[in-house]
C-alpha cells in the first residue's frame, strides 16, 4: 500500500485534562501523531496511559483541552455538536470493547442502523450492502438473530460489520479483543486486517496484548499521557518484553 502525503488524522500538541472535582487529571500531555490513510495502527501502553482518551479525541466523541485534532482534514474544535455527529456518521466506524449492539434489534438491523441514519441508500441497496458484509464476517445465516443469541466473538464480528457498513475512512477500535479469548480475538484482528487490506480502510486500535500488536504496520506507544515512540511491531514486542523484565 502506498501512503499518501496527506494524513487522515493529524494530532498536534494535544492535551486532555479530566476534572475530578477540584483535582485535575491530565490524561494526555502533549501528544503529536499523524495517521495516513490505509494504515493499520495499534496504540499500546499500560493501563491509564491515555489510549482510550486518545481514541475518543480521534473519534470526535470528545474534544481536546488544547492542541489541534484534525480528522479527515477538519479541525474538530471548530465543529458544532451536529457537525461532529455527522462527521462520525460518515467518516468514522466504531468497534467497542464490549460490542455495544442494540439488544432489541436483530443482527441485520444492527448492521443496517448507521445506513438508516445516513439516509443515502434505499432498502434494497441497504440489504445488499448489509448482507455482503455479513457474508464477509461469516454471519449471513445469523442475520435474523438477536445479539443475545450470539457468542462474544460473533457479536464483535457483527460490530465490525456495523463499523464498516458505511464504508468509513477510519475505523476506531478500543481494545476490540479484550473481552474475547485469544483465539477469537485473533480472528477479529484477522478480520480487521483483511478489511484493511481489501478496502484500504484506516484502522486505529488500542490493545494491551503484544500478540495483537504484531499485526499492525506501526505501534504507537503511550506512557503517562505522552507518545513514547512509534515503532514496528517487532520492536514493540522486544521493548515490551524488555519493559516486562
Amino acid at each position: 500500500m502506498s501512503l499518501s502525503a496527506e494524513p487522515i488524522v493529524s494530532i498536534n500538541e494535544v492535551t486532555k485534562d479530566y476534572h475530578l472535582g477540584k483535582v485535575v487529571v491530565p490524561a494526555l500531555r502533549g501528544v503529536t501523531l499523524q495517521v495516513h490513510p490505509g494504515e493499520f495502527i495499534s496504540i499500546a501502553g499500560p493501563s491509564g496511559s491515555g489510549k482510550t482518551t486518545l481514541l475518543n479525541l480521534i473519534g470526535c466523541v470528545d474534544t481536546a483541552t488544547s492542541g489541534v485534532v484534525r480528522v479527515a482534514g477538519k479541525d474538530t474544535k471548530q465543529l458544532s455538536e451536529r457537525k461532529l455527529t455527522d462527521l462520525r456518521l460518515h467518516t468514522i466506524g466504531f468497534i467497542f470493547q464490549s460490542f455495544n449492539l442494540v439488544s432489541v434489534l436483530s443482527v441485520f438491523q444492527n448492521v443496517e442502523f448507521p445506513l438508516l441514519l445516513q439516509k443515502k441508500l434505499n432498502a434494497s441497496q441497504r440489504r445488499e450492502r448489509v448482507m455482503a458484509l455479513l457474508e464477509q464476517v461469516g454471519l449471513a445465516n445469523h442475520a435474523k438473530h438477536r445479539p443475545n443469541e450470539l457468542s462474544g466473538g460473533q457479536r464483535q464480528r457483527v460490530a465490525v460489520a456495523r463499523a464498516l457498513v458505511t464504508q468509513p475512512q477510519i475505523v476506531l477500535a478500543d481494545e476490540p479483543t479484550a473481552n474475547l479469548d485469544s483465539v477469537t480475538g485473533q480472528q477479529i484482528i484477522d478480520l480487521m486486517k483483511a478489511m484493511n487490506r481489501e478496502r484500504g480502510t484506516t484502522f486505529i486500535f488500542s490493545t494491551h496484548d503484544a500478540k495483537v500488536m504484531t499485526h499492525a504496520n506501526a505501534v504507537v506507544r503511550l506512557a503517562d499521557g505522552k507518545v513514547l515512540d512509534r515503532v514496528t511491531p517487532a520492536e514493540a514486542g522486544v521493548a515490551l518484553a524488555a519493559g516486562g523484565h
Binding site: T52, L55, N56, G59, V61, D62, E81, R82, T85, D86, R88, L89, H90, F94, F96, Q97, S98, N100, V102, S103, V104, L105, Q109, F113, P114, L116, L117, Q118, K119, R162, T166, D174, E175, A178
Partner: protein
C-alpha cells in the same frame, strides 16, 4: 420516513422488554378505560336525562318573568318552590315566541305546591252519615237509607271501641295524665249506650259532637304536600308525547280538573298495606329479591303485619264480619279478632307470598277503599295564595297519568297536572280586568261586604284580622254573595261544569311557558336568538334552557362530570408521575445504548424522538387496549342495559334501563389525553437522554 420505521421498530421491541413498561401500560390501560366508559356513561345519562326532562315538563326552553326574584326550578328547589313572578297573560308571549322559525309549540305552565288532607276514616264516615240524614229530611226516610244509616252508625261505634282499646294500650306506655281528659270524656260518651240511643233525637247535633270531639282523635288522615303544574292540559298532552293516561280519562278540553301522577297516586293515596304488598311483589318478580334475604322487604312485611289499623278502621261491622270469616277460612283459624287475623295473614314469606297477594286482592280489597281519593272524586286543595290568603279549591280528579319510561321515578312522579283555571285560582292572581270587575261589583252591591281591596288593606296594614281573611275570598268565589248573573256563573259548582274557551285559557296568567323546538340541535342558537329578540325584552321575559329550568337536577350531570374529571385528573397525575419515573429509570439503564447510537452518528433529535415515540407507542398500544375494552363494555351494556337499581335512577336513565352508547368524542378525548399525558411525562427523561455523551459508549466499567 426510514428513520421513523426504525424508531417504531425500536419502540415496539422495547415495549415488551421491561416489566416497568407493563406497569405503565396497565395504568394507561386503566386510565383510558375509565375515560372511555365513564365519559360514555355520563354522556348517555346526560342525554337520557335530558330526554326525561325535556319530554316530561320542561320542553327545550322555558321562558319566565324577568322580574322573578329567583330562578325557575320546575322540579322544585331545596327549600320548596322558588319565587317566580307571574306573567299577566300567556297569549302575547305565545304569539311572540311562535314568530321564531325554530319554535314548534309553546305550552303555558305554572308550578306550585299545596297541602291536601286525604281525609280520615271518621270524618269520611260522618260525612256520609250527614248526607244520608240530609236526604232523609229532604225526601223522607226509606228502609234502604235506614239500613245504611244504621250500618254507618255501627261503624262509628266500632271506631270508638277501637280507639278505646288503643287508648288503653297507650295508657300502659305513657303516663295517664298525658291523655287529655276532655278527649277521654268525649270518647267515653261516644261509647255510651245513652249517646247512641238518643242519637236520632238530634242527629245533626250528635254528628257535630262526633266531628268536633271524636274525629280529631283519629289521626289516620295524612296531610300531604302535592306539587302540581297548572297547564293547558290538552296542549300539554299533545306536546309531551311521553305522557299517557293510565287510569280514568283525560280532562275534557276546557274543563277544570286534575290528572294525578300514577306514581303519586300509588305512593301516597293507596292503602298503605296494598302499596307495600305491590312493592314486595315487584321486588320479587322484577328484581328477583327474596323476603328472606332482603331487609327492605322484611321491613315491609313487618309494617304491613303490624299496621292493620288502616284496614280495621275502614270496615263497618258487616264488612268486619265478612273479612273475619274470609280470613278464618284462608288461615284455617278459630281466631275472632280481625286485627290478629290480619296480622297473621299479612305476615307473608317467600313461600306463601304469591297466594297471599292474590287472596289479599280477591278477598280483602273488595271490602275496602283501595285509594283514599277515588278517580272522579273532588280533591280539595288548600294553598297560600300570593297575596297571603288561604285559598281552597275543589278540583275533580279525572284520572292518573305517567310519563312512559319514567313510571317509577319519584321525581317525575311528583308532578301532578292541573287545569290552568284552577291553578290561577289557587295562585290567587288577579288580572287587571278581574280587579276592574271586582270594582264594578263593589259598586253594584253597594259594598255591603268586605271586599278584596279592603281585606288586602287590612291584611297588609297594621294588624291583620283573621275574620277579614276568612271573608275575603279572592277569585270571586263567595257562595253568600248575591251578585249579578255574570258573577253567579263563576260559583264553584258551576265553575266545574263550565267549559273554558281556548282564549280564556290563553288570556290568563302563567308562571312560565315551555317551548318545544323543531330542531333541538339548534337549541343554543335559538336560545341566544330569542334572548336577543326585542319583543321578548319588552315582555320582560327570561329565556332559559331546560338545564337551567329544572333547578338543581339540571346540574346533576355536570356535577357527576366534575367528579369523574376530578378522578381522571388525579389518575393522570399519578400516571404522569409513574411514567416519568419509569422512563427515567429505563433511560438510565439505556445510557450505554444511547451513547453507542450517538457515537455511531445519531443526532440528539433522533434520541429524543426515539424515547418519546416509545412512550407514545406504549400509550397508543395500551390506550388502544383500554379504549377497546371500554368500547366493548359500553357496547355490551348498550345491548344488555344497566338496570336502574333505585327508583331515583329511572329519571336519570329515562326508563328502567340505561342503554349507553359510545360517542366518537369519548374515544378521541381518551386518546388525546393518553398520548398527551404520556408524551408530557416523558419529555424530561427524553431530554436527559439527549444529553448522554457518546463517550459513554467507550466506557467499559459498568
Amino acid at each position: 420516513m426510514i428513520t421513523l420505521k426504525l424508531l417504531l421498530q425500536v419502540a415496539f421491541r422495547n415495549l415488551f422488554k421491561s416489566w416497568v413498561n407493563l406497569i405503565i401500560g396497565g395504568v394507561i390501560f386503566f386510565a383510558t378505560f375509565l375515560v372511555v366508559t365513564g365519559g360514555a356513561l355520563l354522556d348517555s345519562i346526560d342525554s337520557s336525562m335530558s330526554r326525561s326532562i325535556i319530554g316530561s315538563i320542561a320542553g327545550h326552553l322555558q321562558v319566565y318573568s324577568d322580574k322573578s326574584k329567583e330562578e325557575l326550578a320546575l322540579f322544585g328547589a331545596m327549600g320548596g318552590e322558588t319565587d317566580i313572578a307571574a306573567l299577566d297573560s300567556f297569549a302575547p308571549i305565545k304569539a311572540a315566541l311562535e314568530k321564531h322559525p325554530n319554535v314548534q309549540t309553546v305550552v303555558p305552565m305554572g308550578t306550585s305546591g299545596a297541602l291536601i288532607t286525604s281525609g280520615n276514616t271518621v270524618d269520611l264516615t260522618l260525612a256520609r252519615l250527614r248526607a244520608l240524614y240530609r236526604k232523609n229530611t229532604a225526601e223522607g226516610e226509606t228502609a234502604e237509607r235506614r239500613g245504611q244509616i244504621d250500618s254507618l252508625k255501627q261503624h262509628v261505634r266500632q271506631l270508638a271501641e277501637l280507639l278505646q282499646s288503643e287508648l288503653a294500650t297507650r295508657r300502659e306506655l305513657i303516663r295517664e295524665d298525658q291523655v287529655d281528659p276532655a278527649d277521654a270524656a268525649a270518647l267515653e260518651r261516644a261509647r255510651s249506650e245513652a249517646f247512641w240511643a238518643d242519637f236520632d233525637k238530634d242527629p245533626l247535633g250528635s254528628l257535630e259532637f262526633l266531628e268536633n270531639q271524636l274525629a280529631p282523635q283519629v289521626a289516620d288522615g295524612d296531610l300531604l304536600y302535592i306539587r302540581y303544574v297548572g297547564t293547558d292540559l290538552a296542549s300539554f298532552q299533545k306536546t309531551f308525547d311521553r305522557m299517557q293516561i293510565v287510569d280514568g280519562e283525560a280532562v275534557p278540553p276546557g274543563k277544570r280538573g286534575m290528572l294525578l301522577s300514577k306514581f303519586f297516586y300509588e305512593e301516597f293515596l293507596k292503602l298503605k298495606s296494598a302499596r307495600r304488598m305491590d312493592l314486595i311483589k315487584e321486588a320479587r318478580d322484577m328484581n328477583k329479591k327474596t323476603i328472606a334475604l332482603d331487609p327492605l322487604l322484611q321491613r315491609y312485611v313487618k309494617e304491613t303485619s303490624t299496621q292493620t289499623r288502616e284496614i280495621v278502621f275502614q270496615l263497618d261491622p258487616i264488612k268486619t264480619k265478612q273479612a273475619t270469616a274470609r280470613l278464618q277460612d284462608i288461615l284455617k283459624s278459630q281466631e275472632t279478632d280481625l286485627s290478629r287475623l290480619l296480622s297473621s295473614f299479612l305476615t307473608v314469606n317467600d313461600e306463601n307470598f304469591d297466594l297471599r297477594y292474590k287472596q289479599f286482592y280477591e278477598q280483602l280489597v273488595p271490602l275496602l277503599d283501595l285509594y283514599r281519593i277515588k278517580l272522579g272524586d273532588k280533591l280539595t286543595i288548600t294553598a297560600f295564595s300570593r297575596t297571603g290568603y288561604v285559598q281552597s279549591v275543589s278540583v275533580p280528579i279525572y284520572g292518573t297519568y305517567q310519563f312512559s319510561g319514567l313510571e317509577k321515578s319519584p321525581l317525575a312522579g311528583a308532578v301532578n297536572l292541573m287545569d290552568l283555571v284552577s291553578f290561577r285560582e289557587l295562585y290567587g292572581y288577579l288580572t287587571e280586568e278581574a280587579k276592574a270587575e271586582i270594582a264594578q261589583l263593589k259598586q253594584k252591591s253597594g259594598a255591603a261586604e268586605v271586599k278584596r281591596e279592603d281585606a288586602e288593606e287590612a291584611l297588609f296594614g297594621e294588624e291583620s284580622s283573621p275574620t277579614l281573611v276568612a271573608e275575603a275570598t279572592p277569585g270571586l268565589i263567595n257562595d253568600d254573595e248575591q251578585v249579578s248573573a255574570n258573577t253567579a256563573a263563576l260559583r264553584s259548582e258551576d265553575m266545574l261544569k263550565r267549559v273554558y274557551s281556548q282564549k280564556e285559557l290563553e288570556d290568563g296568567m302563567v308562571l312560565s311557558a315551555a317551548i318545544i323546538l323543531k330542531d333541538p340541535e339548534e337549541l343554543n342558537a335559538t336560545l341566544a336568538e330569542l334572548a336577543r329578540t326585542q319583543e321578548l325584552k319588552d315582555l320582560k321575559l327570561r329565556v332559559v334552557s331546560w338545564q337551567q329550568a329544572v333547578g338543581i337536577i339540571g346540574q346533576f350531570v355536570l356535577m357527576m362530570k366534575m367528579v369523574l374529571w376530578g378522578v381522571i385528573v388525579i389518575l393522570f397525575v399519578v400516571v404522569l408521575a409513574i411514567i416519568n419515573n419509569a422512563v427515567m429509570m429505563a433511560t438510565l439503564q439505556r445510557v450505554r445504548e444511547v451513547g453507542t447510537m450517538r457515537a455511531i452518528g445519531a443526532q440528539r433529535s433522533f434520541i429524543l424522538s426515539m424515547i418519546l415515540l416509545e412512550t407514545v407507542v406504549l400509550g397508543l398500544a395500551f390506550g388502544g387496549l383500554g379504549a377497546g375494552a371500554g368500547s366493548a363494555l359500553i357496547s355490551w351494556l348498550g345491548n344488555v342495559g344497566i338496570p336502574a337499581g333505585t327508583e331515583e335512577l329511572y329519571f336519570f336513565f329515562s326508563g328502567p334501563r340505561l342503554l349507553p352508547t359510545l360517542g366518537a368524542n369519548n374515544l378521541i378525548t381518551a386518546f388525546a389525553l393518553v398520548v398527551g399525558v404520556s408524551l408530557f411525562s416523558t419529555l424530561y427523561p427524553a431530554f436527559l437522554a439527549t444529553r448522554v455523551s457518546p463517550v459513554t459508549a467507550m466506557q467499559t466499567d459498568e
